[in-house]
């Protein structure tokens, strides 16, 4: 019984730790994105408040909280109020299965450095990322505005097409790790990260995950210069803030996913495992910010055609090739 209590307390500690780290990382990722984008466009980002703009996220939050929480007339009120929370919630829940360090021994028992080591953790991540679209879609539909509806529909179509490619890119990883458990996938990359083993799958995964999380080369659902703000056109104040924070938590989730699935998780020389994990997550986040600074937005039909005629066939061929090679090695 005593060990059970310790387990519960430690789990709660891990939860609080992850919650705090992820939320503050999301807040500062906003600042980092603004500053990096600024430097890529030969300007300084926000640098007025605090040293180097370090207090900017706090000011943004204060601004968002004190703004009017506006509900459009004839909107579906409860759905409208409920949708932004759903986006942030699904993004936060994804962290439950991400292992950020090898198990450590504390108080005489082995403690896995993950909130919940599901043996189908990968499917859990996929499920949550596909549920994340509900917040966007319901918010866009409930706003009762054309632009929001267009944004919601684009988001739906984009998610449906790129989720397939994402799933196809993950199958080689599962094939070589022989498990859906994320901890075991990380363990299987102790010597060689999956990036080297499955470069094509990595490429497909990066592109489709960017499309699925609406990062900028693929941010058609919220394309400001075509459909105003897409699904969040009618949102203001902290509800918009929740969408916004959800997007950045999602960026960290993507970073964590790419890290554990392709970059070898916490494995790395010299530095402690948690540091390696953080470095890799932040590097992936930087790559996405970099892509935002570099790439123009394609047209929506170009995006869909690319997804269905390029990504998915390449994904299928990649699975077949990987399976053949693995079969040849094992036999």
């Amino acid at each position: 019984m005593n060990t059970a209590i310790i387990t519960v307390i430690l789990t709660l500690c891990k939860l609080a730790l992850i919650f705090g780290v992820v939320l503050s990382m999301a807040a500062y990722l906003v600042l980092a994105e603004r500053k990096l984008l600024g430097r890529m466009q030969l300007r300084y980002g926000p640098n007025r408040i605090g040293p180097g703009g370090m207090i900017q996220p706090l000011c943004d939050v204060i601004k968002l909280i004190t703004k009017e929480d506006f509900i459009p007339e004839r909107a579906d009120k409860w759905l409208f109020l409920f949708a932004p929370g759903l986006t942030a919630l699904t993004a936060l829940l994804s962290f439950a299965v991400v292992p950020f360090a090898p198990p450590v021994t504390l108080f005489g028992q082995e403690l896995p450095m993950v909130v919940c080591d599901l043996n189908i953790g990968l499917l859990y991540l996929l499920g949550l990322s596909s549920l994340g679209v509900y917040g966007v879609v319901l918010g866009g539909w409930a706003s009762n505005s054309k632009y929001s509806l267009l944004g919601a529909m684009r988001s739906l179509g984009q998610l449906l097409s790129y989720e397939l490619a994402m799933g196809l890119a993950l199958i080689p990883v599962v094939l070589s790790a022989k498990s859906f458990s994320i901890t075991e996938i990380v363990m299987s990359q102790a010597t060689l990260p999956n990036l080297v083993k499955h470069p094509l799958a990595f490429l497909i995964f990066m592109i489709s995950v960017a499309a699925e999380s609406k990062r900028t080369p693929f941010d058609m659902p919220e394309a400001e210069n075509e459909i105003v703000g897409g699904f969040h056109t009618e949102y203001s104040g902290m509800r918009f803030g929740l969408f916004f924070v959800g997007e950045y938590i999602n960026l960290i989730v993507i970073g964590a996913m790419v890290t554990v699935l392709f970059l070898g998780g916490w494995h790395g020389p010299l530095l402690p495992p948690v540091a390696w994990f953080l470095i890799k997550v932040l590097f992936v986040a930087f790559v996405f910010i970099w892509a935002r600074g570099s790439m123009p937005r394609p047209r929506y039909d170009q995006l869909m055609r690319f997804g269905w005629t390029v990504m998915i066939p390449i994904g299928v061929i990649n699975i077949l090739l990987t399976a053949a090679v693995l079969l040849a090695i094992n036999s």
Partner: protein, 176 residues
């Protein structure tokens, strides 16, 4: 090779933005660093004096007529010697668009644009500039020009009494 071109076109922007990341930004940090605007920059409007120290403005209303946003208003008055001046002169800078048409319209070079762009204010009524706020002690851009040396000389006499001058037209008369 369109595929090669596409791959190159996808990767090149990444290289360029990475290069920009390590360059010094071109931003001028405004409150600490201030640019000197060029001399012909159009910002705060002033009323200038001629080299003798008299007001150049003759209250002809041309500036107020040229102003597209109607932000200039004045009332004309006459001296004892018949020299016209503005009894009051008002520019509402909260409406002014700094187009410079008033300065172009001015026949006496009285109204001029200066490069002083820092005139914003928290109270909008502080942006209504009266004549005493507008009138400066210098000549502005042309330090030589004096309207009364070219026109209107000798207004000391009554109108129409000067040499080579017709009397004023009587608008009430039917004769040509």
């Amino acid at each position: 090779m369109t595929l090669w071109r596409d791959i190159k076109g996808t990767l090149q922007p990444f290289w360029i933005t990475l290069g920009y990341l390590f360059q010094k930004p071109v931003t001028i940090q405004y409150p600490e660093v201030k640019r000197t605007p060029p001399p012909r920059y159009r910002a705060r409007i002033v009323l200038t004096r001629d080299p003798d120290g008299g007001e150049r403005c003759v209250a002809c209303h041309l500036c107020s007529g040229a102003c597209p946003v109607d932000c200039i208003s004045m009332q004309a008055a006459e001296d004892a010697d018949g020299r016209r001046y503005a009894a009051w002169f008002r520019i509402n800078f909260s409406r002014c668009i700094f187009c410079g048409l008033c300065a172009e319209a001015c026949p006496t070079l009285a109204i001029q644009m200066t490069p002083d762009y820092e005139i914003c204010n928290r109270d909008i009524l502080n942006l209504v500039y009266e004549k005493e706020d507008l009138l400066i002690d210098g000549c502005g851009k042309d330090t030589q020009y004096n309207f009364y040396e070219h026109a209107g000389i000798g207004v000391a006499n009554e109108r129409g009494r000067n040499q080579d001058e017709y009397g004023p037209v009587d608008p009430k008369s039917l004769l040509p």
